[in-house]
Structure formats: structure tokens, C-alpha cells
């Protein structure tokens, strides 16, 4: 990349971070509105969702973070294979530092041993970069900002699981999903979305569960068995009555997304990640010259 390309790509990274932090994607906004309409007027759930909708509008209008916890910074990047991946990684980190200075991201990354805040959001493991070369000559850059409150209520099951009576089949997986929604109560800032991975190992399971959040909320799982599981788990979870913020109500979850990875015969993990209502996920098609061509969500 020449210096002009680098400069443009850096600007694209900063703009993707800004938009992700300040604006909810359309599919999530519509789900929040749908949830709001479903709640009884004058109820606590109605009150909570009204404030949430105001907040979404204000953040967008002021171009300021939706939530002060700007979260773990998770990049998923496809790049033209002729380019050097270390150069792209460097620009992504530079973009994070610049976006932090501009206040799009809070100073949110702390040394686990000393407790010292780097002040830049850059350090070991931050930001998380998933870089994949491809044969096309443009980039697709996706970003998720996932807050700590919802990350803390993620949970992993190893089946069979005696406590909830979950065996190694899809009925068992559904029990795990409902248990996860119950365990989270309102603590993950609901109404949330669950990303679920069946199989994999303990690390790839959680990785896969987060990748489910890259799907649009209204999409249909191409696997009919998983599509059915998603529908049923969502419908049942919304009968638990936990509601927005755990205040009680009809909208406990706005979506359940499930994927499957191969597993070892000895292992059967179900990994569940919880995403809060402030579901900050955006992406862009970026030309090889570094220009944002199209938003993906």
C-alpha cells in the first residue's frame, strides 16, 4: 500500500469505529422497536424500552457512544490477498488509538496484572483482529463492540449436563439455551441476543458463538434443524417473563442464533454468548484504495 492508500484505509477504520459506537444497525433498531410495541403500555418494560429508544436516537444525533462501556473491540476483516496482513493490522490498531482520542471509544483496556489502563485500547489481545485473505480486490471490514456486562453472563456447557438434564442432542442444546437466558436474568442488559455454538473445543466454541452475531437478526438459518431450534428457543425464552433489564415483560430476548462446529467424539460443548440490547455491530465494503463503498448492516 502506498501512503495515500494507508491514509484512506486508516480513515475508513476510524469511521467504522465511530458509526459502530454511536449508531445501532437497522436490524437491531427494528427489533428493539418491535419489542417495545409488544409490551403493555405503562409497564416497567415499556418504560425501560422507551428510555432505550430515546438513548439510541440521542447517541446517533450527537455522534457519541451509545453506552459508556465501548466494550471489547472485535474486528473481522477480509482483505485482498496480495496485501500484507501485518500492515492492515497496524492500521487497525492505529484506527483504534485515534478513535479513542476522539472519544468514540472509552479508555477501556487494562493490564490484567498491574491494573494499569493503557489509555489507548491497544495492548496484548486488544483489539482482537480476525484477518482473512481472499481473492477479491476489496476489503470487508466488520466490527463488534461488546460490553463487559453482557460478556460476563456468557456461559459454556459440557454435555451431558446433569444439573439441567441436558443430553447430547438438540433437545439438550435447547435446555442449555433456556438455562443461559435464565441465568443471565437482566444482568446482561436485556433484551439481548444469544449467539450459540454447538461443538468445537472450549476456545473455538466461544469464538463461534460470537461469530453468530455477524448474522442479521431477521435472517433464516440455512440448516432447517437449527432454524427450528432458534425459533423454539426464542419463543420459550420470551415466555420466561424476565423482560427488559430484568424488570419483567414479554421481551427477554430479541434473537437466538445457532451454529455448529465439528467436535471430538469425547466432547460436546454448547457455548453461549450474550449480546446486550446495545448491539453495536457494523461493517463496510472498502475499496482497495481505502474508500468506504457500502455499509453492510
Amino acid at each position: 500500500m502506498n501512503t495515500t492508500q494507508q491514509k484512506k484505509l486508516l480513515e475508513a477504520f476510524i469511521e467504522i469505529i465511530r458509526k459502530t459506537s454511536a449508531e445501532l444497525p437497522k436490524d437491531v433498531l427494528e427489533a428493539v422497536q418491535r419489542g417495545h410495541r409488544a409490551e403493555e403500555k405503562g409497564s416497567r418494560a415499556d418504560y425501560a424500552l422507551g428510555i432505550i429508544e430515546n438513548n439510541i436516537g440521542l447517541a446517533k444525533a450527537k455522534s457519541q457512544p451509545l453506552c459508556q462501556d465501548t466494550g471489547s473491540i472485535l474486528f473481522y476483516i477480509h482483505y485482498p490477498r496480495k496485501l500484507d496482513h501485518s500492515e492492515i493490522a497496524k492500521l487497525a490498531r492505529k484506527g483504534v488509538i485515534a478513535a479513542t482520542k476522539k472519544g468514540y471509544l472509552r479508555q477501556n483496556s487494562v493490564d490484567s496484572i498491574t491494573g494499569k489502563n493503557s489509555g489507548t485500547n491497544v495492548g496484548p489481545g486488544s483489539p482482537t483482529l480476525h484477518l482473512e485473505p481472499w481473492a477479491k480486490d476489496h476489503f470487508e471490514i466488520r466490527l463488534m463492540l461488546k460490553g463487559g456486562g453482557c460478556e460476563n453472563v456468557g456461559i459454556q456447557y459440557s454435555l451431558p449436563e446433569g444439573r439441567i438434564g441436558a443430553g447430547r442432542d438438540l433437545a439438550g442444546v435447547k435446555k442449555c439455551i433456556l438455562d443461559a437466558a435464565f441465568q443471565a436474568q437482566g444482568k446482561g442488559c436485556g433484551p439481548g441476543i444469544l449467539g450459540v455454538a454447538i461443538g468445537g473445543d472450549r476456545a473455538t466454541g466461544y469464538l463461534g458463538s460470537k461469530e453468530q452475531f455477524l448474522r442479521k437478526l431477521g435472517d433464516r438459518n440455512p440448516d432447517p434443524l437449527l432454524a427450528k431450534l432458534e425459533d423454539e428457543a426464542l419463543a420459550d425464552a420470551n415466555q420466561l417473563g424476565i423482560g427488559p433489564m430484568g424488570f419483567g415483560g414479554k421481551t427477554t430476548l430479541m434473537g437466538v442464533k445457532v451454529g455448529a462446529l465439528n467436535r471430538l467424539p469425547a466432547s460436546y460443548f454448547v457455548s453461549v454468548s450474550y449480546m446486550c440490547w446495545a448491539f453495536r455491530r457494523q461493517g463496510a465494503v472498502v475499496t482497495s484504495k481505502g474508500e468506504i463503498k457500502k455499509w453492510l448492516y
Binding site: K62, L66, G149, K174, D179, Q185, K187, M245, C276
Partner: protein, 193 residues
């Protein structure tokens, strides 16, 4: 909608019930992990907390033209302060705690015994809640604790929240957890067949 004004009296706090939707106006103080440990260890803050309110919040603060303003001020998870909260309510004479996610048994009992309530703010609503802040009146421990952990004295107007733990020993968190637990047990039992 119930309007509350600080300083809160024991009578006004005791009249609140779990589930009440409230708007709070007056003075509140932020305090999170570092401040709770510091207060628990017996240190005394320079401001008067009697009848007052602690808000579990690490706000984003900017200094503009010599004055502090808050650009994001949503609640943080309260349960981390559970080991300290009951003792602090008692020592400082607090009448309300604002946070998110609810608190545990010790705090519930302290609220009942001492006349205090837990007000649940809307998690993630950093912009709406920052808008409710009319004025940043002062800061204590900025150097020692750092900006998000410091005690910020805030004047708020109609700060929205829901009473989820009242001064009569009730907790909405406990109620919702047991009701949703019964429903969950039904679903799990059906799936076993």
C-alpha cells in the same frame, strides 16, 4: 411516575414499593469499586451523604471552558459492591443506591433495617442519563482514584429509574428470578418427555 427529591427522608423512602417508576431530582454522588472499598475501610468523604444517594457509575467526563460536563453516564453492575454496601449505607446514612443488575441479601436487609432503596437505572442508556445531569458540582479523589472511579457530585433533574429493592425487604430481582425459574422448570420437564 413518582417524583423524588434529595435529600431523601426515611418517610419518603419507606413509602416506595418494588416496581415503582421514579424520577429523581437533586444531588447524587457517583461511587464504584475503589470508592466503596475506601469508604468501607473507614475513610470519611469531605461531603455530607446524609439522606443522600450513591450512583454506581463511572461517567465519561470532559472539561470544557473550565467546567466539567458528562458526556456518558450509564450505570455499572452493582453486585460488585455487595460486600461493602450495607456497612456504607449504615455509616453514611444513605437513602438510595442507583445501579444496575440489583444487589444481594446483605444489601436487601440493610435497606429494610435502615430505610434505603435500590433504584435500577437503565443499563446502556448512557446518553439519556447524561442528559439528566444538569451540573457537575465537584469531584473528590480525581487524582487518587482516576476519573471513572472518583466521587463526582452531580445535580440531576428527573433522573429515571425503577425501584427494584424497597425498604420493606422486597426485591424485584428475587421475584422475577423465582417466577422465571418456575417457568424454566416447566419447559425443561416437557423436553425430558
Amino acid at each position: 411516575m413518582i417524583q423524588l427529591n434529595t435529600p431523601l427522608t426515611e418517610e419518603s423512602v419507606r413509602s416506595l414499593k418494588v416496581g415503582d417508576m421514579v424520577e429523581l431530582s437533586g444531588i447524587i454522588f457517583t461511587g464504584r469499586d475503589a470508592v466503596h472499598k475506601w469508604l468501607y475501610d473507614g475513610n470519611t468523604p469531605p461531603m455530607d451523604f446524609r439522606g443522600g444517594v450513591i450512583y454506581h457509575c463511572g461517567p465519561v467526563m470532559l472539561k470544557k471552558g473550565g467546567r466539567w460536563i458528562s458526556t456518558a453516564a450509564g450505570p455499572t453492575t452493582s453486585i460488585r459492591e455487595e460486600p461493602y454496601q450495607a456497612a456504607i449505607i449504615e455509616r453514611l446514612g444513605l437513602r438510595a443506591i442507583i445501579g444496575k443488575g440489583g444487589m444481594g441479601e446483605k444489601t436487601r436487609q440493610a435497606c429494610q433495617k435502615l430505610g434505603c432503596v435500590y433504584l435500577h437505572a437503565i443499563g446502556g442508556a448512557a446518553q439519556v442519563l447524561a442528559e439528566a445531569i444538569q451540573e457537575v458540582q465537584g469531584v473528590f479523589g480525581y487524582e487518587e482514584f482516576g476519573s471513572p472511579e472518583a466521587i463526582w457530585q452531580l445535580k440531576v433533574e428527573r433522573f429515571p429509574a425503577v425501584v427494584t429493592m424497597d425498604a420493606h425487604g422486597n426485591s424485584l430481582h428475587k421475584e422475577i428470578e423465582s417466577a422465571s425459574g418456575r417457568k424454566l422448570a416447566e419447559f425443561q420437564a416437557q423436553a425430558r418427555k
